[in-house]
């Protein structure tokens, strides 16, 4: 009874043995591989044009930027997986930095408490999003667009547009410090978050259910999945990740800046889509998003090292996004026979 008897229509097991050519082509079809190749090319070109690009100091800077972007991108990947989106990422980065600085400097709270309180604010905001998406059946786009403005406005008012300076060394170490004098601490934080999220999405039933919600929410609901709970979780994860990035930014700059994170959502979402997430929901994963973040981060760093006019940066990033989504749509279309 346990022996599997699956057969194709002609009674035989499906595909003939694949040759090497087939294997290579199959690999190329994987988004992650294509992206990795792109990253390698970029690094090579950058290194050739400007040797400083590959020096250890620059690599440290680059990986720190990549790590922060990766945390935000993985975070925003969760609502995208359910077919929604979180546009407030950029403003929340600012909110995270300002609030943690505010708690420490203006209210004199100890570092650990400030961090925890800021995270709680993040959870609350995420739950707020989740509430509108599940109970009012609003698309994530709308509600997060609103909080994008609200959060930014709030911190501008709170700080009167002045950065909150003088953050203690113990805190700034989180953004500026290194483990073993080599690995920036933000990279460690990123790896931990990426690891947890990867495990959640790939191996647990919660992750599986999230994919189901994104794939077909009605089918998931009728199959007994607690759809609302999963959606809540996704929106909370997104804001908490962005909050974390905000705190790391503040640690790095040694100040809480109300303008920080402006436009960050574009980068985070781009990295996510590059990494294979689909706006329709139900597709994408942590490895892809990580590599997407690596590509964007490397690209940004390269643009600086190659002395490309900063005003062009946004255009370049947007072109990369265009290439990614076009490639993705074409790939999707060719799937249909």
């Amino acid at each position: 009874m346990n022996k599997m008897e699956t057969k194709g229509p002609s009674g035989t097991l499906s595909a003939p043995r694949a040759g090497t050519g087939e294997n290579i082509r199959a690999l190329l079809r994987m988004t992650e591989v294509v992206l990795l190749v792109a990253v390698l090319l970029l690094v090579l070109v950058g290194g050739v044009v400007n040797p400083h690009f590959l020096c250890i100091e620059n690599i440290k800077i680059m990986t720190r930027d990549i790590a922060m972007l990766a945390i935000a991108a993985i975070g925003v990947g969760f609502p995208i997986l359910t077919g929604g989106i979180d546009l407030s990422v950029g403003s929340v980065v600012g909110l995270g930095g300002v609030m943690v600085a505010y708690f420490m400097m203006n209210m004199g709270l100890p570092i650990w408490l400030s961090i925890i309180l800021t995270l709680i604010i993040g959870i609350g905001l995420g739950a707020f999003h989740g509430l509108f998406v599940t109970k009012l059946k609003m698309h994530g786009f709308l509600i997060t667009l609103v909080t994008m403005g609200l959060a930014r406005g709030f911190i501008l008012v709170l700080t009167n547009a002045f950065p909150i300076t003088g953050l203690p060394d113990q805190f700034t170490n989180l953004g500026q410090g290194y483990l073993f004098n080599l690995i920036p601490i933000p990279v460690i934080i990123c790896l931990i978050i990426a690891g947890l999220c990867f495990y959640l999405l790939r191996f647990t039933f919660i992750g599986r259910q999230i994919y189901a919600v994104g794939g077909n929410v009605e089918a998931a609901r009728y199959s007994g999945v607690a759809v609302d709970a999963r959606i809540f979780l996704c929106y909370i994860v997104s804001v908490v990740c962005a909050t974390t990035v905000g705190m790391i930014t503040a640690a790095r700059l040694s100040l809480g800046h109300p303008g920080s994170g402006e436009g960050y959502e574009l980068l985070a979402i781009t990295a996510c889509i590059l990494g294979g997430a689909s706006f329709a929901g139900g597709e994408g994963g942590v490895p892809g998003i990580l590599i997407g973040a690596i590509l964007i981060g490397t690209l940004q760093n390269a643009m600086v090292m190659l002395n490309i006019n900063p005003y062009y940066h946004k255009i370049v990033i947007s072109m990369v996004l265009l290439a990614a989504i076009t490639f993705d749509y074409l790939r999707r279309r060719s799937r249909r026979a």
């Binding site: 089918a219 009728y222 139900g282």
Partner: protein, 524 residues
């Protein structure tokens, strides 16, 4: 009396990602012929039809239209040739009127060369076209307000008005009641008189036999034979399709236990009115009625998909509150929905993920991780038990044929081992061989003590499989019968108690006011 066939397809082969869907298939259709195209799910019928209608491209072989070789690259081209396909999921725009749909992209202009549409003229012409086919339907009615049967008529009228010489229909009767099927067949005969050929795919053997000139049978991607309508019998066709003798409705007598599920005076805004019945351990309760009678709505109440206005649900004698499908699952209720694709499957996920979708938490360990081995074993068990045709359990469900997708949904609920199972049209769209398997499985489950509510529109299935039959009409229970003491006429009588049998084109007029929101079950 053409000496050459209208359509000839020679040596057609087609494969998809490792699956050979068609192998060297020959297919011909004569002018003015009604051809029944039959075969098990996965046999290749839909694939062949899609190649003919320009959706798929063939790997090899040739197509001859009126004797000339043709290449069909797109549906548009197929239509230009005169080949129109009507799919199960009708291709009409719901918010537009009948006339607008028929004249889509060739609207009648008020002034030539401009964009001004003459709606009045269109509506009159549309009505004339439909009248010519024997259908009475106002041209300005919005398509979404029509019943499925009427919508099909509109599609056919649309095809005819575009001078189709060959109309292909993919399972046109699966969502129709008996009377509507008769009307459709009359329409087909009328088309035949006009010289239009019809190819139709169906699993309903006795229906097909009543109207076709010839039947072509496919199996495993090959054509296995044809038989003239006059000589065909159900048994012969089944044997060709399946290659073996099949016993239908293997109902096993099972000792009926105590009441497991009892519903009392269920009333809700979805149209259910004062419905009460009881289901016992080991019992198969057949829920009969016309489409729109309220059976699916009743199921939705029991499964927590819709909210109750009043009434109660008791499980094992205890009253329970079921406010969501998740709660229903927790209480041991499983629901195989009518619309598998929309409500039953996550098309982008693979077979094993869909199969275990309802039991994910159950097969996870302390850390929440899904046990891969268990998942694999459970899936393989059901793939075998239900004979699901798939290259592997990691195959994306989207790539499976309709009937096999159906089976995956069944597998999902079977793996949840519910105490009560509500199956809404469990064998719709499933071929004969698989039907028997599903029925055998149902009998087995009943033997193991499951209480089954079987919603079905197929009389033979209701009469053959149920221990008791309940008939519904307009949201109410109108009849209750014991096995062996019920006839098709009795069921039909109860199912139409409150309806005046009018032209099928419009929704059945209500005998008394019905709460808002009561619409025929969506059939897309």
């Amino acid at each position: 009396m053409a000496d050459q066939p209208l359509l000839r397809m020679e040596n057609i082969s087609k494969h998809f990602a490792g699956v050979q869907a068609l192998s060297n298939v020959d297919f011909e259709v004569n002018t003015g012929e009604i051809l029944g195209f039959m075969g098990e799910n996965g046999a290749g019928k839909s694939t062949l039809v899609k190649i003919l209608s320009g959706v798929y491209s063939r790997d090899q072989g040739a197509i001859y239209w009126r004797g000339q070789p043709v290449e069909i690259h797109s549906p548009h081209q197929a239509q230009a040739l005169g080949i129109t396909t009507i799919y199960q999921e009708l291709a009409l725009v719901p918010h537009l009127s009948v006339a607008e749909n028929i004249f889509l992209n060739r609207e009648r202009r008020r002034v030539r060369g401009t964009g001004l549409v003459d709606f009045g003229l269109q509506e009159r012409e549309a009505q004339a076209i439909m009248k010519d086919l024997g259908v009475e339907l106002p041209g300005n009615k919005k398509v979404k307000e029509l019943t499925v049967a009427a919508q099909q008529m509109v599609e056919i009228a649309k095809a005819v008005s575009r001078n189709a010489s060959l109309i292909l229909m993919d399972e046109p009767t699966s969502a129709l009641s008996r009377k509507e099927v008769d009307a459709l067949f009359n329409l087909m005969r009328r088309l035949k008189e006009k010289g239009v050929s019809v190819v139709f795919i169906s699993h309903r053997l006795e229906e097909v036999l009543s109207v076709v000139n010839r039947i072509v049978v496919m199996r495993d991607g090959r054509r296995v034979g044809q038989i003239a309508g006059a000589e065909a019998t159900e048994k012969k066709i089944i044997q060709m399709m399946v290659g073996r003798e099949v016993g239908l409705f293997p109902k096993v007598a099972v000792p009926i236990g105590g009441p497991v599920l009892e519903v009392r005076n269920l009333t809700a805004e979805n149209g259910v009115r004062n419905v009460s019945f009881t289901v016992h351990r080991g019992e198969i309760l057949g829920l009969a009625g016309l489409i729109g009678a309220g059976r699916t709505e009743t199921a939705r109440l029991i499964c927590g998909a819709d909210r109750l206005t009043s009434g109660s649900i008791l499980i094992n004698g205890q009253e329970v509150q079921i406010k969501s499908p998740a709660q229903a699952v927790d209480r041991g209720i499983g629901w195989v929905p009518e619309d598998r694709k929309q409500h039953g499957l996550v098309l982008g996920m693979d077979v094993k993920s869909n199969t275990t979708l309802a039991i994910l938490k159950r097969i996870s360990n302390v850390f929440g991780a899904v046990r891969a081995k268990q998942e694999r074993e459970i899936t393989e068990h059901y793939v075998h038990a239900l004979q699901i045709l798939t290259p592997s359990i990691s195959q994306t469900v989207r790539n499976l044929s309709g009937g096999n997708q159906q089976k995956v949904v069944l597998a999902k609920w079977l793996s949840a081992k519910p105490k009560i199972m509500i199956m809404d049209e469990p064998t719709r769209g499933i071929d004969v061989g698989a039907k028997a398997e599903v029925h055998a499985l149902m009998s087995q489950l009943a033997q193991e003590g499951m209480a089954i509510v079987m919603i079905s529109s197929e009389m033979p299935e209701i009469i053959g499989m149920s221990d008791r039959v309940i008939v519904m009409c307009q949201g109410r229970v109108t009849g209750e019968y014991e096995r062996g003491h019920v006839t098709q006429e009795q069921i039909m009588g109860d199912a139409t108690k409150f309806l005046a049998l009018e032209a099928l084109a419009l929704k059945a007029p209500e005998a008394e006011p019905v709460p808002a929101g009561f619409e025929p079950e969506p059939k897309v």
